[in-house]
């Protein structure tokens, strides 16, 4: 009797197993299983914290004392410091987008040209900055751009008879430092995107242009740029989002407090108010506003360049 029952059990087990695996392998279910890791991480690491942050933005959060205070955090947002942070961040975004789209496109075209010698050397050296950490690179930048006469950059200016500049204390030079650091760091990555894009531009278009007698500039503006449009949209969207989220470029030059708030960014303001000043509710409110801003700007930008249109 006994062996037969056990085989029966085994049988039902295997049928169960095969049923289960058949269910899992079915065309309808499998795709959901494959996306599950993403869905789970999205829910746990993105949606849940986001909802928590929105709730927190209506609260005053102190250890052991959490009270709902309605819109007070949002009302407090309308202060000069926040405007300053927003202004700094916006200027930074505009400059980084302009620089990090225009320069890499041109450089990528050069680096793709067969006329250029030592192409691989140039490619590699332009990419190297991307491998360093912003903090490490920033510390070096901070020393190079020190305010003393003996700092590297001021000494170089001295050769041209220009008096030393207090780099980290003026609003224009401060912004210059941040944009400079970001551009130096990210230019190589963006060149890669454009180089990849250039591989897909068909040779026939250039041949046709040659036959029509187009010069190099006409070819660049009428053939290369339009063909790179998807890459340009991608790169500029990423740069805008990263620009609004910027924190390290400012932190490495001034830590939390920049003179006259010349380096205050929106994320820096979240850090300063939410964590350094122990006001998490207010920090959350800034975060929610920042999220809305990024969302709106990205949608507008994508709509403006026609990314939603079916080609």
């Amino acid at each position: 009797m006994e062996p037969s029952t056990s085989t029966q059990v085994n049988k039902t087990k295997t049928t169960q197993q095969s049923k289960l695996s058949r269910f899992l392998m079915s065309k309808k279910v499998a795709p959901y299983i494959f996306v599950t890791p993403f869905i789970v991480s999205f829910l746990l690491l993105f949606l849940y914290p986001m909802i928590q942050a929105i709730i927190m933005s209506f609260q005053q959060v102190l250890p052991g004392q959490v009270t709902f205070i309605g819109m007070q955090n949002y009302e407090r947002l309308l202060n000069p410091e926040f405007y300053r942070a927003l202004l700094n961040t916006s200027i930074y975004v505009v400059f980084t987008v302009l620089i990090l789209v225009a320069f890499p496109v041109v450089l990528a075209v050069f680096l793709n040209s067969k006329l250029l010698k030592f192409r691989n050397l140039f490619r590699a050296s332009l990419f190297v900055p991307a491998l360093t950490s912003v903090i490490v690179a920033g510390v070096i930048f901070r020393m190079m751009f020190g305010e003393s006469e003996t700092a590297v950059i001021n000494e170089m200016l001295g050769f041209f008879g220009i008096s030393p500049v207090d780099w980290r204390y003026g609003s224009v030079s401060g912004m210059f430092l941040m944009v400079m650091l970001a551009s130096w760091r990210w230019i190589g990555v963006n060149i890669l995107y454009f180089l990849a894009g250039l591989q897909n531009v068909s040779e026939e278009l250039y041949e046709a242009a040659d036959i029509d007698g187009a010069n190099a500039f006409q070819k660049f503006f009428s053939v290369t740029l339009p063909s790179l449009k998807p890459v340009i949209i991608f790169v500029s969207t990423i740069t805008i989002i990263n620009g609004f989220r910027m924190f390290e470029e400012s932190f490495v030059f001034w830590q939390n407090n920049s003179p006259g708030n010349i380096g205050l960014t929106v994320v820096g303001y979240i850090y300063q108010e939410g964590i350094s000043q122990n006001d998490m509710g207010f920090g959350a409110a800034i975060g929610v506003v920042l999220m809305i801003i990024i969302f709106v700007v990205s949608i507008l930008q994508l709509k403006f360049v026609g990314a939603f249109k079916e080609d």
Partner: protein
């Protein structure tokens, strides 16, 4: 070619994928810079952790652990001290207290941040049981700084008398007798001699920290807040004092902005070490910085009380300070509290504060102890009689009014006020202080 390109692409993709998490690189991480373990590595010792932002502070716990383990062989402890940069330590501690997890047993909190740590339900253990019996032997004002609703939470390190450190060499070269400087007017006159007869400046002024402005106003009995916790940042005394700082640089031309922005910047240490300025005003606890960072000045520095503002005015101000707390996340509250009392509230502990750290201890019962006059590294680097001078000054040390908004004011001073009124001169001292006071008041109204 294509192969190379795709090879190049790989790190690019990885990097851009990591981009989102990059925010924590400089700010977040819970890694401490330096860790030291004090006490026996035996199984019966209870392990305690201690967070601080000043490596020097650990010096007082080494003898304390030793004493404790000798006195309590059945309750031995082993203390792990972790040193973080101050901002990072504050943030880590705040988040740990907020979330109820991950806090150390003992932590150091700097005075201007202490108020904000007392908001909400206090996450520290009251030390009243240990403080009250010895309070009459202590400078009570130092304990009041770290208290709330009659509960004492923070155990102080020092009184923090502000003094003037003169470079004797430069002063001699300039032909100034240091003893003759009695008032700030004398100081300015001496400064003019220094700038005329030597290459050095008379002094330096901080614009990214508050240890020029705060002592100067506190010396005159002013402060950021009054006794009721109201903002008095823009009062007459403060405006005049800020103007005085401005005048030192631009009118009398005897001072300059501290290289690097404040007296804790690497650039400043190098500048001062090379004889860049003839004097600097800092609290007593700054002695340790001379020993650590300005070795060339050994034997050249004369410590003196501050010049007076007026006849009979005080010659110092109590500045800075740190309260050591026991957090409520400790597993052995009684043990930890008793140990902290051993370290900070006993005679031995207070003597160590002077001999190990060069701090003026808050327990006045030890001030007459012969051990305070025995030679140590501070007497050797500077000169004799430092401690006796401190005793004279300690009666003139006033108390400060610390509130939860003190860190807001500090932030305004370091970011806006000193920058616009001193460095950029884009606004007058009055405008700068009024604007800052307004900003702090508007944050307080809710």
């Amino acid at each position: 070619m294509k192969k190379l390109l795709s090879l190049l692409l790989i790190p690019g993709l990885i990097l851009s994928a990591c981009g989102g998490g990059g925010g924590s690189e400089g700010a977040g991480g819970a890694e401490s810079e330096d860790t030291s373990v004090i006490g026996p590595d035996s199984e019966d010792a209870t392990e305690l952790t201690f967070w601080t932002f000043n490596e020097q502070h650990i010096g007082v716990y080494e003898p304390a652990v030793k004493r404790w383990n000798e006195k309590n062989p059945d309750r031995k402890i082993q203390l792990t001290a972790e040193v973080f940069p101050i901002e990072q330590m504050n943030n880590n501690l705040r988040l740990a207290l907020q979330s109820g997890e991950g806090a150390p047993d003992i932590a150091d909190i700097e005075v201007s941040h202490f108020g904000s740590f007392l908001e909400g339900e206090v996450q520290f253990e009251p030390m009243n049981k240990h403080v009250e019996p010895v309070l009459s032997d202590m400078v009570k004002g130092r304990f009041d700084l770290y208290s709330k609703d009659g509960n004492y939470y923070g155990m102080p390190y020092h009184v923090g008398a502000t003094v003037m450190y003169y470079n004797k060499e430069i002063m001699k070269k300039a032909g100034v007798d240091i003893d003759s400087i009695k008032t700030w007017d004398d100081y300015v006159a001496a400064g003019k001699k220094v700038t005329k007869n030597t290459d050095a400046m008379m002094t330096t002024i901080e614009t990214t920290d508050q240890f020029t402005f705060w002592p100067l106003i506190a010396q005159q009995g002013s402060d950021y807040f009054n006794d009721n916790g109201e903002v008095i940042l823009d009062n007459q005394t403060n405006v005049q004092t800020l103007q005085f700082m401005n005048d030192l640089i631009y009118k009398h031309e005897i001072a300059e902005i501290a290289p690097g922005g404040d007296h804790h910047a690497e650039q400043y240490y190098g500048y001062m070490n090379d004889g860049g300025a003839a004097s600097v005003m800092m609290p007593m606890w700054y002695m340790g910085r001379f020993i650590d960072y300005m070795k060339d000045l050994e034997g050249k520095i004369q410590i003196k009380p501050l010049p007076r503002w007026e006849e009979g005015g005080s010659r110092t101000a109590g500045m800075g300070g740190t309260g050591t707390v026991v957090t409520n996340q400790t597993e052995n509250p009684e043990l930890v509290k008793e140990f902290l009392a051993e370290a900070k509230l006993t005679k031995e502990g207070n003597i160590d504060l002077w001999t190990e750290l060069g701090f003026d201890p808050p327990m006045h019962a030890v001030w007459d102890d012969p051990k305070m006059r025995e030679s140590n590294q501070y007497y050797e680097y500077f000169h004799d009689g430092i401690f006796d001078m401190l005793l004279e000054l300690n009666e003139e040390v006033g108390s400060l009014n610390i509130t939860p908004e003190t860190s807001d004011v500090t932030n305004e001073i370091n970011t806006n006020v000193l920058n616009s009124a001193i460095r950029q001169q884009s606004s007058t001292p009055k405008e700068a202080l009024e604007q800052a006071a307004e900003s702090v008041r508007s944050g307080m109204s809710e």
